[in-house]
């Protein structure tokens, strides 16, 4: 099979004369684009209907130039970093290319092979015109609660066609006029049509507001100045990233791990990463993995690219909002037809599982090169749970879904933080129990840190979360938990943390564990216990400062029994 090298080249400066651009106007344009992207983000959050958008922030908003290079992206879901470029291109190709676009168009696109994720992640792309000239695009990709597919959330699909209705780039608005045929198709294919329509309105309003803002920036500076400034802005982004990358010592860094299961075959899936650093150039190699697997954990290329970018951004200290220039120094190797570069129709609903695992493994591989910058493993997953049913009194359909926080790995800098969202969803917030109880037929019985869960070490791993939901009505649950077998690794002699685990306690007294399982019926009175993974420890436990051990005991982060087992020197 072919090895594919993905390289990102924003147009060279000579196109717009980036070197001649005034640094002051460039900075003003750069700031303006970042601020406009942020306004587009806030507009979406405030009008969305789905908690997956307004609480979990499961979306990305960005501006692209007319060559589909990224002008700016608001800080949202890191996992979506830079993936919108693929879908802007595919969406525009789908409707016949740039020449087929008119002011007022809104393109809908959700093909997993172009978005990088599942069909629920739908993109809206709006072309932006200045004096009848196409100058760029405003785009939002956001998670819809349901767009058909065999279940609202799937862990067992066998091809992409089971995962949702695919819109391969169609105009939802044609020159400002709603295309009702497409609108009716959406309505007819969603179990939660009302909510999805609300979110579509929010996305359309957001992209239109964004398009206006981009047009205003172009108008304020003039097209020529704007393009020159953009060219210089890309050079600037590239220079920043190259400066970070130069800090990594040259060499080849590797690490290997195992994914629990693909949800269908039940077999473990080993894979490895290699990172080659030479000067300010970084090549991430993800070819050492199995061919695409039967179950839905294949990771389409756009999300593999995002995982590689994200891992490097976390290490290199990306504090800036990225643009296309930031991506130039990174190259990616994948193998067509494999786990990290599947081809149609391989199922990919849970693409995030291999992507998230790859992020942590790339970071781990560099422990040797930059030991101070690499923590032990975290709980390693977003622990997605999706719930739905019909309300007992009214019969009204309801659905909800959320990621859950995990303990973070310890590092030479100190103990790992407890109960934070996994890196790829690091800006995501956890829904308050009181909001949940006001909305869903649940009672939250426990929302607590899990004592003793942090991996022992000189520095202790962060604690995982113990969360218990009592079902007050019959309902269904789909569990999508990864890293339930593999313990979060320690580093440099630190011990592992605990893996993720989900147990359902049934009213008849029986109990069962689930990891990747679709449509688990939960009768009234069932209690769902989610125990999220914790962080691995760093350094040998016998080197832990005795005062730190005593403080952990005093505050109840560890029990006496745990202290006796792992830290006898401190007692």
């Amino acid at each position: 099979m072919t090895v594919v090298r993905t390289v990102f080249t924003a147009p060279e400066p000579d196109r717009g004369g980036g070197r001649e651009a005034d640094p002051v106007t460039t900075e003003i344009v750069r700031q303006g684009l970042n601020a406009a992207a942020d306004h587009m983000k806030r507009s979406l959050i405030r009008t969305a209907f789905s908690p997956i958008i307004y609480e979990a922030l499961d979306f990305a908003v960005a501006f692209y130039d007319e060559d589909m290079c990224m002008l700016a992206q608001a800080p949202t879901l890191p996992a979506f970093m830079g993936t919108l470029g693929f879908c802007v291109r595919a969406a525009v190709d789908g409707v016949g290319g740039p020449d087929a676009l008119a002011p007022g168009d809104v393109i809908l696109y959700n093909d997993p092979y172009g978005t990088g994720s599942h069909p629920q992640d739908a993109a809206m792309v709006v072309p932006v015109f200045h004096a009848e000239e196409l100058v760029g695009y405003a785009a939002i990709k956001a998670h819809w609660l349901d767009i058909g597919g065999k279940d609202p959330y799937c862990t067992d699909t066998l091809d992409v066609y089971q995962e949702g209705t695919i819109f391969p780039g169609v105009k939802l608005y044609d020159a400002g006029r709603l295309v009702t045929d497409v609108y009716r198709m959406i309505l007819a294919n969603s179990r939660m049509a009302d909510m999805v329509i609300g979110d579509i309105n929010a996305m359309v309003a957001g992209t239109r507001a964004g398009a206006e803002a981009l047009a205003a920036i172009v108008a304020r500076h003039g097209v020529e100045t704007f393009r020159r400034c953009v060219a210089r802005m890309y050079d600037h982004g590239e220079a920043l990233v190259r400066a970070w990358f130069s800090a990594l010592p040259d060499g080849v860094y590797t690490a290997a791990s195992v994914i629990d299961s693909d949800g269908v075959s039940g077999r473990p899936i080993p894979f490895g990463v290699a990172v080659r650093v030479a000067g300010s150039r970084v090549e991430v190699d993800l070819t050492d993995c199995p061919d695409q697997v039967p179950g839905p954990i294949n990771c389409p290329l756009p999300s593999t690219v995002a995982a590689a970018r994200l891992a490097i951004a976390f290490l290199a200290g990306a504090g800036e909002q990225p643009n296309e220039g930031h991506f130039r120094p990174l190259e990616l190797l994948t193998r067509e037809g494999s786990l990290f570069h599947p081809t149609r129709p391989a199922p990919c609903f849970l693409y995030g599982i291999p992507a998230d695992h790859a992020i942590e493994l790339i970071i781990r591989s560099l422990a040797e090169g930059v030991p101070d910058s690499v923590p032990a493993a975290s709980g390693g997953d977003i622990n997605s749970l999706v719930w739905w049913g019909n309300r007992k009194d009214t019969g009204a359909p309801w659905a909800d879904g959320a990621p859950h926080p995990v303990g973070q790995g310890a590092s030479p800098r100190g103990d790992g933080a407890s109960a934070l969202m996994f890196l790829s969803e690091s800006a995501t917030r956890f829904t308050p129990a009181e909001v949940w109880e006001a909305r869903n037929p649940w009672r939250i019985e426990r929302l607590a840190l899990a004592p003793d869960s942090g991996g022992p070490g000189r520095f202790r791993g962060g604690l995982g979360l113990d969360l218990s939901f009592r079902c007050l009505e019959d309902q269904y649950l789909t569990a999508a938990l990864a890293r339930t077998e593999l313990e979060p690794w320690g580093l440099d002699g630190g011990l592992p943390g605990r893996p993720n685990r989900l147990t359902v306690e049934y009213p008849d007294g029986t109990a069962a564990d689930y990891a990747l399982r679709t449509r688990v019926p939960l009768p009234e009175g069932a209690v769902v216990h989610l125990r999220t993974g914790s962080g691995g420890g760093y350094g040998p436990p016998e080197e832990r400062d005795p005062e730190a051990v005593r403080a952990d005991l005093r505050e109840g982060y560890i029990t006496e029994e745990h202290a006796r087992e792992h830290y006898p020197h401190a007692l």
């Binding site: 601020a35 507009s43 982060y557």
Partner: protein
């Protein structure tokens, strides 16, 4: 009309403004802030401006203070214990699972305000509808009381799940604690906030417990000291949500004062634009470290109902003032990618801008403004002699790394970039409110605000800039015109589809007003947080459920929604939170406060070398003392006064206007 004194404690200076009702005289005074004991600075500025005779006939002493905020920022001012529902002791530490910096691999939240060993659980449970699912176990409360006694706990916060819907168990826990002999402060979550979201309510309640311990004694001491000096009026404390609280209320609900810092300027702007008859205005307050901005429409302050301090959420009303790190002290630098950047880091008061000659070597916005002639060299308040040479020396080294010709171009760039930051902040708030900034007037104040009025106007395509009198002390002016405001809120998630639901809202509203204590001269305001069913975020809409029907409220919501988001929906409405506010207007002069008389008599119009951004170069221009400006004058020029300098670019005209304001009008567009 009554005599009133406003004293605002800022990071660097404590400002006083006084309006003597008998003589009509305005006095202003300034003394250094004394962070370790702020009352010393307050009393010093009072002693400087007002003798016993004046204090004796002063009816109101309106105080803006950072004591509450500091109590939060300083380590361990009090030991607080927390009582929670069984299963929820860690809510305060788990937070919402997010990182303040999503790209920081090592981000760790600050240590929780209450350590885990002092977070104790009691068996009990109330459901979201207020029904009791499990009774309270009094034994658990007794055990907690014993732990608190042994650990020397000063104050206790009680936060039970769903207590907003039924406070019975929280009250019972308090009674049991008292019966066990606990005599410190007790904060109950349903009294402090009454809104849902357990992490945010827990945080607010714990902050209340922490701050109360410090704020009460401070205010009582200050009140006593003022009375010893002859003051016989009422001490009022400004509120984060606008207006001011009476002393006893401020002592009881100190968390409501925590975010009051930037609010006074927005409140002063609201009063001013009301007097000038402007319907849409943008408050543009440029200080040493930040740019604070608010959008004022129809004289009303924009409200939010959740604030953040040091990453901690507070469920408390606050005026929506946005801050960005762009002020006079913001530092300019060239980044690793070769672009000129400004802020958010500030040179602060020490060492301050390079031109202060106090050891600062990094160029700041003030250095750039001085270099461009926008600020006239010489002595400023605090006895600092501004050095143009030091400013140029700091600016020049930035030119080569970003490819600019020299110090002039760097200075121009620094000011333009700072102005662009400010304009973006304004664009953010106007976009969110669905307001076109072009139809607003920019009200520029703060020490550096009047320098930036024209630049912000050009960035936003605005035609009118107003510079109020006392621009440098304008925030303290706002204090003198405060109303006495009290507020209470309760979450009540209900479909608002018929008049029965509205009756329930009215009942909650009556209970809230009763709690606020019905004074006959109080104006009542009722606001509802509304949304379409299925949404989470709400819009707050004024309502009168005693006199209006659901259709009228829906119509108002739909209009507000359309304005904010550009579309409208037919989905059913849901009420989420009911908010009651009472307002008592003080009998003070509400007209704009004129500049103090006298002024800088020696100052004459003179010629300066001034940069014009419109003309992209230096030009000979006039520098006029403010009192010498008696007729319209065309830019470029600068207008000088003791607390601020107003910069007027080419293409703008400045003239004296109502209430002592300067009115700047844009005559030609920049492109």
């Amino acid at each position: 009309m009554s005599t009133v004194i406003g004293v605002d404690v800022g990071g660097t200076f404590t400002d006083l403004v006084l309006r003597d009702a008998r003589t009509g005289e305005i006095r202003v005074a300034k003394r250094p802030t004394t962070p370790s004991s702020p009352e010393a600075g307050v009393l010093a500025v009072v002693d400087a401006a007002a003798g016993p005779e004046l204090l004796a006939r002063c009816a109101y002493f309106v105080h803006g203070t950072t004591v509450g905020l500091n109590a939060l920022l300083e380590p361990a001012t009090a030991t607080v214990g927390l009582i929670t529902t069984a299963g929820f002791r860690d809510v305060l530490e788990i937070r919402r699972g997010d990182r303040d910096d999503p790209y920081d691999l090592f981000w760790t939240p600050p240590p929780p305000l209450v350590p885990r060993r002092l977070r104790l659980e009691v068996a009990e449970r109330v459901a979201a509808d207020g029904s009791v699912v499990a009774p309270l176990d009094p034994q658990d409360v007794r055990r907690a009381a014993a732990v608190f006694a042994a650990e020397g706990v000063d104050a206790v916060a009680i936060v039970l799940i769903n207590a907003y819907a039924n406070p019975a168990h929280e009250n019972a826990v308090r009674d049991l604690l008292r019966a066990e002999g606990f005599d410190g402060e007790v904060s109950l979550s349903h009294e402090v906030s009454g809104e849902y979201r357990e992490y945010e309510r827990t945080c607010t309640t714990v902050v209340d417990a922490l701050v109360r311990h410090r704020m009460g004694p401070y205010l009582t001491d200050l009140d006593r000291e003022l009375r010893a000096r002859g003051f016989a009026g009422r001490l009022l404390v400004t509120r984060s949500g606008g207006g001011a609280l009476e002393l006893d209320e401020a002592t009881a609900r100190p968390f409501e004062t925590i975010l009051s810092g930037p609010v006074a300027g927005a409140a002063a702007t609201a009063r001013l634009v009301e007097a000038l008859g402007l319907d849409t205005a943008i408050a543009a307050d440029v200080g040493g470290t930040s740019f604070d901005t608010a959008l004022i429409e129809d004289g009303r302050l924009p409200m939010l109902y959740q604030g953040r301090v040091r990453g901690l959420p507070l469920q408390s009303p606050w005026v929506d003032v946005r801050s960005v790190g762009a002020g006079g002290g913001s530092v300019a630098y060239v980044d690793a990618g070769g672009l000129l950047r400004v802020g958010p880091r500030s040179a602060g008061a020490v060492p301050g801008p390079a031109c202060y000659g106090r050891g600062g070597t990094e160029p700041t916005v003030t250095d750039a403004a001085l270099h461009l002639g926008m600020i006239v060299p010489g002595r400023i308040s605090g006895g600092i002699e501004l050095s143009a040479e030091a400013a140029a020396a700091a600016l020049a080294p930035l030119a080569a790394p970003c490819g600019l010709a020299g110090a002039d171009e760097v200075a121009e760039g620094v000011v333009r970039i700072a102005a662009a930051h400010m304009a973006q902040a304004v664009r953010g708030i106007t976009v969110e409110h669905g307001t076109d900034p072009r139809r607003a007037a920019v009200v520029a104040f703060g020490g550096a605000g009047p320098l930036f009025g024209c630049l912000i106007a050009d960035e936003l395509d605005v035609d009118t800039v107003v510079v109020p009198p006392n621009a440098g002390n304008f925030s303290a002016v706002g204090l003198m015109q405060a109303d006495i405001v009290r507020g209470a809120a309760r979450t009540l998630v209900r479909s608002l589809d018929d008049d029965a639901a509205l009756r329930e809202v009215a009942e909650v509203a009556r209970a809230l007003f009763a709690r606020l204590g019905d004074s006959p001269d109080a104006e009542r305001e009722l606001d509802l947080d509304l949304r379409h069913r299925g949404q989470e975020h709400t819009l707050t809409v004024r309502a009168d459920p005693e006199r209006e029907d659901v259709a009228a409220i829906r119509e108002r919501f739909t209009a507000a929604y359309h304005r904010a988001y550009g579309h409208q929906l037919t989905d059913p409405l849901e009420v989420v939170t009911v908010r009651a506010t009472t307002r008592v207007r003080l009998d003070v002069d509400r007209r704009p406060v004129p500049a103090p008389g006298g002024g800088d008599a020696e100052a004459e119009a003179r010629e300066v070398r001034l940069w014009s951004f419109r003309r992209a170069g230096f030009t000979r221009a006039r520098a006029l003392p403010r009192h010498a400006l008696t007729a319209p004058a065309e830019g470029p020029l600068v207008v000088l006064e003791p607390t601020a300098t107003t910069y007027v670019d080419a293409g703008f005209t400045v003239e004296p206007s109502t209430g002592g304001c300067l009115l700047i009008t844009r005559k030609e567009r920049s492109r």
